[in-house]
Each structure stands twice: as C-alpha cells, then as structure tokens.
Amino acid sequence: MNRKKDKGFESPRKSVIGFVELTIFPTVVNLNRIKLNSKQCRIYRVRVNDLEAPFIYNDPTLEVCHHESKQRNLNYFSSAYTAAVSAVDPDAGHGELVIKVPSELWKQGDEMNVLKVYIEFSLDQPKGGLHFVVPDVEGNFYSLGCLGWPSVFWFPCVDSYSELCTWKLEFTVDASMVAVSCGDLVETVYTHDMRKKTFHYVLPIPTAASNISLSVGPFEILVDPYMHEVTHFCLPQLLPLLKHSMSYLHEIFEFYEEILTCRYPYSCFKTVFVDEAYVQVSSYASMSIFSTNLLHSAMIIDQTPLTRQCLAQALAQQFFGCFISRMSWADEWVLKGISGYIYGLYLKKTFGVNQYRHWIKEELDKMVEYELKMGGVLLHPTFGGGKDKDNPTPHLHFSIKHPHTLSWKYYKMFQCKAHLVMRLIENRISMEFMLQVFNKLLSLASTASSQKYQSHMWSQMLVSTHSFLKSISNVSGKDIGPLIKQWVDQSAVVKFFGSFAFNRKRNVLELEIRQDYTSSGTQKYVGPIKVTVQELDGSFNHTLQIEENSLKHDIPCHSKSRRNKKKKIPLMNGEEVDMDLSAMDADSPLLWIRIDPDMSILRKVEFEQADFMWQYQLRYERDVVAQEESILALEKFPTPASRLALTDILEQDQCFYKVRQGACFCLAKIANSMMSTWTGPPAMKSLFTRMFCCKSCPNIVKTNNFISFQSYFLQKTMPVAMAQLRDIQNLCPKDVLNFILDLIKYNDNRKNKFSDNYYRAELIDALTNSLTPAISISNEVRTVDNLNGDVRLILEEITRSLNMEKLLPSYRNTITVSCLRAIRMLQKNGHIPSDPSLFKSYAEYGHFVDVRVAALEAVVDYTRVDRSSVELQWLLNMVQNDPAHYIRHKILSMLGKNPPFTKAAESPLCNEALVDQLWKLMNSGTSHDWRLRCDAVNLYYTLFGLTRPSCLPLPELGLVLNLKEKKAVLNPTIKPEQGPDTTQMTGNTMVSSVSMSSGVAPPPQGLKRKLDSVVGPLGSSPPEPGQVLQEEDSSKTLKIREDEIDMESPHDSQAFIHHHLNILERPSTPGKEPPAVDQAVLSLPVTPLPSFSKESTSSSKHSGDHHHHHHHHEHKKKKKKKHKHKHKHKHESKDKERDSHTFSNSPASGRSVRSPSMSD
C-alpha cells in the first residue's frame, strides 16, 4: 500500500483538513469492503477509484457503556472497554470506518487490480492525537505535536504496527512555520498566494501508520555539526540550549551503529523539541519528539545525564520500534526489550558499570515491587487458546489484550521487565550472540525495506516473539526455552528468603533458601542460582540447583578460620585488601554471602546474615549492588560499628556516589535509632564540615565549586539526610537546623561554573525534612503570633527564596517546586493554616510544568487530609479541561497514588455524584486519550474497587423483582428471537417491553424503593426466574448478576456495526456518528440489573451461554465480515481464529482457574 497525504492547517482555529489516498493491492478477490481506523476525524467523502463510495463511521470507544446503563462496577466496564477496543482492532481486521467498495469496481477487484481510496477528512480542535499549543502572545505562534500512543488519532489509516506501507506526505502550513515529519524532505514550495508553504516528504521505507508523526511550529533549525543528515528543531529563543543539549548526540549514534554493526536505517534523523509534550520521549520513523523541558544549558548538572538518557532511548527505539516494527501487540516486549537493552549498553559505556548496575538494580526493584503489589506483569500474553485462557491476568483490573486498556504504570513496568528479560537472555547466550541476533534482524529488515513494491517481503521488517526466539537459537545454538517460559510466557517474580548456618565441624556452609510462591505476583523458581561466598581465603562462586523440595544446600568452605594470621584477603576482582577481622566470628571463615549477585533471576532476596557481615560487605565488596543491599540491611543494625562502616563509606571518594548518597540516609536512620547512645556531634555534621566547609571557619561553607560531580551530589544529599535526624523530643536538633540555615545563608555561587539551583532546592528540601508536627492545643487557629521560633526562621527562608524566584527564576523552577512542597509540609504539620488556595493558583495553566505538578500534588494531599470535596471537584474539573495532557494524566495518577479515600474506608467524599462523574469520565470523557482513560479506570479502582461502589444505594431487592418481572415478560418475546432472521429490531422490542412491564413508567429510583418494601422477603433467596427463560441451548440456570451484563456491551458495539452494515445496503448517509436514535434503539437491555458480587465465580460459565442465545442471529452476519478480512490480511488464518474469539469470548468470562499464570 502506498499512501499519500495532504494537509492544511489553520492555527487559530486549531483545525486540520486533509485527505488520505491509499493505494490498495488486493491480495484476495472479492474485496468489497474496506475497514480503516479513524479516530475523531470528520470524514467528508470517500472515493474509490474516483467513484463516490458509501461509508459508515462508528467508534465504539467514544462511549464504552451506553448512558442508560446504571451499571457502575469496574468489571463490567473493563470487559466492555476491551470489547469496544477489540471491535475496532486493526490487527483483527476491524476499523471505525467501513467503506463499501462501489459495485462497479467489484469486477476489478476480482482481477486484483489496484484500488485507490481517497478520503477527505478534517479535525476540528482535536482533543487527542494532535496537540495545539497556541500561546497567548502577539504574532502567529503556535506549535503542534503529535501524540497519543498507542493510536493514530489524526488521520484515517490502518492503525496497526504490522501494516507497513511507503509514504508520501505533504503538509501545507503557514509560511512562518516548519512542518517536520517522517522521511526525507524533498522540497518546500510556496502556495500561490505565498502565504503558506507545502512541505513534501517521502518515506520510502515501509512504515506502519502508528510510526508516522508530525510536528509543526515556528521552529529554529539546527543542523547537527557532526552529522549533517541530522536536524534539530526547537522553539524560538531556545537555540543556544539546543546547541548545547545536542552536542553529544553523534556519540550515541556512533555507539549504536558500532554495536549493532548496522548503519542507522533512515537517511535522515530529526529531533523536535515541543512544548506540552505527551511524553518526554517518543520515537517515530526517522524522527523523535521530545519535551522542550529536556533542553538545558552548559551550567546545569543534574539535567544533563537525564537528557542524554532520553536521547539514547529515542535513538534505540529508532532501530527497534520504528524501523523494525512488531507483528502483534503480544510481540511488543521484544521491541521494548531490545531497545531497552541496547540503551542499557549505552548507559554502561557512557556512565560506567557502576551506574549501569545501579540502574539494573533500581529497575529490578521497581518492577519486583510493582509485581508483588499489583500482581504479575505478563510480557507475552497468549490469547485465544480457548475461552478460559481469555484473560491471562485475572489479578488485574484491566485487560492486557490491547495496549489501549493498559494502565500507564503497568506499561512502564512492562517495558522495564522487557529489558530486564533481554539482559537475562544475554546472560545466557552472551552479549556477542545477542548483538549478532540484533544485527541479523536489522539486516534482514533493511534488505526487505529496499525491496520496492514487494510487500510480501516486508514482513521481514516485523518482529515476532517466535521469529526472535528462532534467531536466537539459530545464532547461539542454545535453548532458551525454559527462560522464556519462566519470564516471558508467565508473569510474576520470585521471592527468596535466605539464611545460613556455619557447621564448624564439617567446615561447611549450610545455606537455606526458601521461596514464597503463594502470595500474589510470585512464582516458583526451579533452576540454577548463583551464590557468592567471600571467605578469608578469597571469594568463591557456587551454582546451586533450586529444586522442588530441597531447601538446604551445603557449600564446602575453602578456608579454615584463622584470624590470627595477618594476611591480605583476596576479593572477587582479584584485589587484595587488609581487613580488620576483629569483628568477625572467630570460628567462621565467612565474611559475607550473596545470593544471585548478578541479578540473573527476576527476584527479591531477603537474606539474613550477621551485622558484621553486612558491614564487611559494605566496606569491601566492590559491587555497587552489594553495597546498596548492605546499606539497606544495616538499617536494622543500629550499632556503633554500622555507624563507622557508613561514615567510612561516606568519606571514601572512590566509592560510587549513589552508594554514598544512600549511606547518608541510612546513617540518619541509624542515628535516630541510636539516639540515646549517640555520642559526638550530629551525624554527618563533622563530615560535611570537613569536606565542604572552610578550614579557617568551620561554620561557613566554601564558595560553591561543583567541578567534581561526585562531591556535588554528596554535598546536595547530606543536608537533606541530616535534616531527618531527630532528638529525644522527636524534634530536629537545633544544631542541625542552624547548620542548614547557615548553609543557605553562606551559599555563594559567584565563582561557580555551574548553576546551584538544584543545590539550593535541596537545601529547601532539607528544611522541609526538618519539620516536625507542631505541638498544638486542640483546635487552635494557626496565627502568625504563635509561630514557633524555628519555624519562623524556616518560613522566612522559604518566603524569601520563593519571592526571589519571581525575580530570578531558577532552571526548571526547582526552587519554587521545593518551596511549594515545604509550604505544604508546614501546613500539614500544623504550623501554618492549611489552605489550598496558594497551590491552586500555582497549579493554573501558564506555569512551568514542574511547578504545576508540585502544586497539584499539594492540592491532592490537601484533598486527602482535609477530605475536601471542593478541591476534589476542582481537580476533576482540571482533568477534564486542562490543555496540557501531561497535567491531566498526572492529576489522575497522583490521585490514584494518594487517594482521597479508598474502598476500605468510609468517607464523606464517596457519594453517588462522584461515582457518576468518574464513571462518565472514563466512559466517555476521555475517549481521545487512552492513557487518561486508563488513569481514570485506575482511580476508580483505587476508590471503589472492582465491584459496585459501596456508596451507591443497593437496589438489589427492587431489581430482583424488576428482573423477574422483566423475564416474565421477556420470555415470550425472546422465543421468536430464536429465528435467525430477527435482527436488532428484536432488541428494540425487548427494551420497550421491559419498560412497559415496569408499570406506569415511574422513575426507576422510585420504583426500586417502592418495590423494596413490597418484595422484601424475596430478596434473601433470589428466585430462579431464569427457569422460565430456559432455551434449548442454555441448559443452566439463569442467574442475574453483573457478569451477565458484561456481555451486553460487546454486543452493543458489534451490534452497531452490524446495524450499520445493514444500513449500508441502503443508500448511505455519510455522517460522523450514527444518529442518536439508532443508539438508543440499539442498546440492549442493560438497564438496572443488580450485582451479586459474591456469586461472580460461578457466573462465567453461564454468561457464555447467555451470550450465545442472545446473539445467535449475529453469527450469520459475522461470516460476511470474516471473509472480508481475508482480503486485507496476510495472516488471515490466525486472525480469523482470533477474530471469532473476539465475538464469542469476552474477557469477563475469563475468570478461570485455567489461566496460564495460575496453572503452575
């Protein structure tokens, strides 16, 4: 397929008009319908080979559950949502836009001639997909960035990563603008009136529509001085920052090209820095879009590595993700894994092994924590093995069948796990082979990409789990099947508990490793595990076999205990060191033990060893991961020896700075535990004085000189950690507070080459940390007069810093951010009156995004603490109305993290109006932004759980009767429905009959209450009214419960399409949405049905049946549809299979015991 696109933009109105021309080479005869994806576009006309073609447009994701529905439980929503997404899933051959090929062309299609589809569309004030930023300043100034993972929201296309085609793109924009898009810019031509320019792009490399992007703005252009094919774009006035920030991009290029032994696949590369970016980094074919906030000047230390990492990530995704695309959603992990993995290699090379290992540990911990809390993350879900396998992750409140339904956090963890698993594969087959595999994938793809018009070859550019694994076994000859089975096909992590005893007689170390594989998110591990034992005579690796029943492992020791001999002790890395062995157990030669030191299992290890062993490990083990582990462990051993070990680490400048930072906080904790026995000045004070203060006057800090980054980071961290110290009254010691105040006072950056904004921000953070709850007489109003003296000093500093920021703003307004946090902390601790108005003003649009987030965080916190419904409303309004997508996402995720209430607790905030509002938000309010919708789902889950929110009136009794009544009436009506001829109109009659049956049409609420009293006794044992309903195909009793209704919505969306297919047969009436009447007519009886959450387990079996009978008639239709897919897909057989499952299975029925994650 070839595609050509043309667009005209109108900035003030924020609208786009355009057309798409698709060239389709039918692969099968009888192509009479074409389905395309198109979200939020208004389609004006469609022509096929210059003939007007009728079309219908329906997007079921606009409104997931139809508004008549009073259902408010998440299970219902999730399955309906999944069904809605499935209904338009391009990989299954569906789409929102169905075009009927004019019958004149049918014959042509038979001969497999080319079809040219021409679609005119417009986007008016798009809510998602394209984001217009039009600052309120003079002159024509706007920018526009493309966003909206994982769907293309801005032009009709086959929105799949697996549908490749070549592209010709034309964009007509205002003459002052630059349009940056994928591919090579061929030429730029003025329009006839010379007011606009048209940018002509050609992308000869087959690319999926999802990898096409666009960015328009009054960009400043910088051609990379090292690589002239690379062009950078930034918004006006930022060019100097761009120059600096991009000055090392060529190194990243060189690195990737070298390790992959493959040239960058595209002929050019563009980086665009836009305002209000959806995510920090997003990669598209031959271009990457970044947040403008990543730009920095040469004076900024902290942002530099972060920006470089973002660039490296973007570039890694250029190779794997853009150039090489995925076969299906289930193969996503391969691409994310490879790009993450090679990004890791870049990290290792640029930032060092320590940083790399630290990063791996950090990612592993993060992922393990998430999985243990939320349940497993499944990399390679397999669907369609049967009904029961439909939902492989029953522990999640969302479906992982589509990227659109994933919680954002889950997706992050998914990426994290993907690259960790790649690293495991590397461990197994060696890096050399790994890179060979990548090279092979890339070279196959680039050969394929150069094959013009041979689209069957292009599938080489798609990677699938299967092909990837095959390459691995071809290249390495090793079988990594078990590894894949364990970590890819299966979710969850391993949790080890280790302890040991030393048997002196046998000179054997008796190691016991237990596993917890019963709690959520855990799995059982069987296989090898590496254990490293540091003895007096050296360090020894042992590989143990974890088996079903063996917990204990005997490891022979190499050395006898002999502490009298003075001899250097060899370490793992061959280094020999002197140790003071007086602390250790005289009988044992063991210095320390590490389980799985290389992190070659996705695990959490809780290992028990004596405090002195941790201390030795901290001091002498050279691996940063070991050091960090020991720091964590030492928190539990508040002894002078631990203190000494930590201070020694702090002073050692060869030690990795992040370890030293960790040691600071640990030391503070230990000091607090040792409060009564602590001697000498407060922890770290003398150390800080020695390192950073003047020799002649120890109370004054040296003028800033941040040339040495290691000490810079330490200097930043130490005050923050010190401020956590507490004295016996649980207050921050006066000494420490004054010390920090002095640091602020004497801070002098005049001679420094670098900006001190982060340092000053951390000093404010330190002040925040020093705050303790005010001693308050109950209900006393906080006034200026009763302000505590210390707090007054702190407040003085904060107000001055905050005010100075207005005059001399710091980079990324770091100081404002810290000040806002400090003020919230003062409020929270009752020093100053709790009041959200300040934060609300800082949260308004028009502030720097970091400031807004900090302010919003404070408002969210206020909402929780003060249970304020006004603020909650305010936040939710902002979620609906704020122009910046990131902020909207952030509000919801912060609300989810710090919820105003949870399902467990009662709260006055939890009321019906809120439920309705949130429901509306996720049901229809966020249809333009998947991420936001999933955030809303998450929040709903946090607040109300999976079942019907407790604050809603529970109208079970009334409804039971209602249903019974309905069924009694329904029964005769349904009978004729068995006839295959009956169409949706039956549904219609059904609805009407129900409403008739409820009597003189009273409002449902009133009805419930009325009936409640009447049929009270019936409620306790619901009658089996379904019996009346027994049909020949449903042999089971019909019980009324939520899962049953789950089935309704999928049907709805399907029904829509079918209904419209019917319409198609008649002369079409082009329109964006079907008329509302249809909607009302079509929606099946979803009206009030009760929820019996307790019975949900047994329901799954049933619902299938129920479904069957309802939609019996639909299957006929489906056939028509299916054969249509054949034309469009090369992998029909698979798709067809999946396709049929889409109809017959709803994930709601997948609460099965046979799902893969539970099977072992």
């Binding site: 006839h192 252009i221 108005s837 308004e844």
Partner: protein, 301 residues
C-alpha cells in the same frame, strides 16, 4: 569611627561658641537700636513702630558692615592686614558719603550721648582644629609671615581603614549583605505588587509575591537568567562568545519574526532559514536549509 567621633566633638564645640557669639551680637544690635531710636528722637519723632525701628536698624547695620567690608578689602588690596583711616575714607567716598561733613555732624549740638554697649565677653574665636605640629618657617621665610596652616590641610592623611582580610568576616558580610538586599528587594516587590499570604489573620506577615502565569512558561524556566550568564562570563571567557552570540540570536529573531511574517508575501527568501549562519549554510546540504521554492505555474498534486 574615629572620624565620626571627631565630627561630633567639633559640632559640640560649635554649639558652645555660637551661644556666646550670639550674646555678643545681640548686645551690639541692641546698641544699634538705641542709636536709631535716639536719631529718631533727634529728628523729632515721638514714637516709632517697632517694625520701622527694626528696618532702620537693619539698614544701618548693613551700612556699617559694608563700610567695614570695603575698608578691609582696600587694605588687603594694598597688601596690609589692618585697615587704616585712609582705607575708611576711601570707602566712604566711594559709597557717596562726603567725609568732610563728618566732623561737623559729630560736633552738632543736639546730639544725644548714649551709653556704651554693655561689656560682654568678646566671642571666643573657635579654635582651629590642631592636628599635629605646625611647621615652623624655613630659614628663608621671614618670621612675620603667617604661620603655616595646620598640617592636615596640606598633608595627605590616610582616612581609610585596613581592609578586613579576615575570611570569615568577609563571607559573613557578603552573606548578610546579599540577604539584606534580597530581603529588601522582595519586600519592596511585595509591597508594590500583588501578594499572596500564608496567614489569614495577618496578610502582611511573610508576604509572597503573587505568581503570574506566563504565556510561555518554559522560557523563563529553561533559559539561564542574566545573572547566571554574567557569572558564566566571569568564570569562563571562552564560553563568553558563545553566550553573547546566543543572546543575540534570539533577540534578532524576535525582531525578525513579525517582520518576516509581513514581508513573506513580498520577500519569499526571508523564511526561517536565515537563522543558520550563512557561512555554514554553504557547506551543509540539509533540506531544511534549502530555499523555499516558488510555486510552479501548474502544481502537480
């Protein structure tokens, strides 16, 4: 501090002398008033308004003072220091007074004799500040010449103090100075503009300058402030060029942009392209740097 002390001491001295000098002058003035009154009586007035007497007194005082001043001037003109009779005569002549009539007037019959002014202490001439030993005349200068003035009038006296080189004090001072400036500045801004307050009861305590949303918030947050740029210039001169360079570019840009928009229809060449230096442009072939083409007569689709 020393100077301050001496200052105050001096001013104290001045006060003391002025009071005695005032007494002295008041006495003289009173005599003059008597003179005027007697002259009026002599002329036959019976009474006079106080204001008139006062005016006449003032006039007579001015006259006498002027005579004295001129006489002094004449005498000094002839290199003397004490006026002689002839000086006075010349003066009087000069002022249009016939001296010859004076003896006759003095001897008139109806003249009244008035009492001499009360003896008051002549005003103490304030002692000149003596700092150090006055120099004696060198041998070639006759001793009747005036003495040398006080040494401080011609000798360079170092009045500055040893600069405080104590590191601690310097830092202390710099810190408190900066803090004072900052505090004053922010207070001023808070006083003159809108504020937000943390306390409801006392809005003036800890005033916060009200935040102001900006249309392009990222600019101020990302671009280094001028102060930082200055610092950078001081610390690193090699980067200075870069920085000023960069500073200029955006400014030009801003000026250019609106203009460019208007001119675009006329001058198609003035697109976004000129941002990159021309010299580089020749070297690099980048599609974004190529000039925008004019539309062909028949645009192909």
């Amino acid at each position: 501090m020393k100077s301050l002390m001496s200052n105050s001491a001096r001013s104290g001295c001045g006060k003391a002398t002025s009071s005695s000098a005032e007494n002295y002058q008041l006495a003289r003035r009173r005599t003059l008033q008597v003179v005027v009154s007697s002259l009026l009586t002599e002329c036959g007035f019976e009474s006079a308004e106080k204001a008139t007497v006062e005016s006449l007194t003032e006039m007579i005082q001015s006259y006498i003072s002027e005579v004295g001043r001129c006489a002094k001037a004449y005498c000094e003109h002839t290199a003397r220091i004490t006026p002689t009779l002839s000086d006075a005569v010349v003066t009087l002549n000069e002022m249009g007074f016939n001296v010859d009539t004076l003896p006759g007037y003095a001897k008139r019959s109806q003249r009244m004799v008035i009492t001499a002014p009360p003896v008051t202490n002549a005003p103490v001439i304030p002692k000149a500040l003596i700092a150090g030993q006055k120099r004696t005349h060198p041998s070639h200068i006759p001793s009747h010449f005036p003495e040398f003035p006080d040494p401080h009038t011609y000798i360079k006296t170092p009045t500055f103090r040893e600069p405080v080189s104590d590191y601690q004090v310097v830092r202390e001072k710099a810190a408190s100075q900066r803090r004072d400036v900052e505090r004053a500045l922010t207070r001023f801004m808070a006083k003159t503009g809108e504020t937000q307050s943390l306390f409801k009861d006392d809005v003036t305590a800890f005033p916060l300058i009200a935040e102001r949303p900006s249309s392009i918030p990222y600019l101020s947050a990302l671009l280094p402030s001028e102060l930082e740029l200055q610092t950078l210039e001081e610390t690193d001169s090699s980067e200075q060029d870069d920085q000023t360079d960069s500073e200029n570019t955006p400014v030009n840009n801003l000026n250019d942009d609106p203009g460019a928009d208007k001119e675009n229809s006329v001058l198609p060449a003035g697109g976004v392209v000129p941002l990159v230096k021309v010299s580089e442009e020749n070297m690099i072939d980048n599609p974004y740097l190529r000039p925008v083409k004019k539309p062909k007569v028949r645009r192909k689709k």
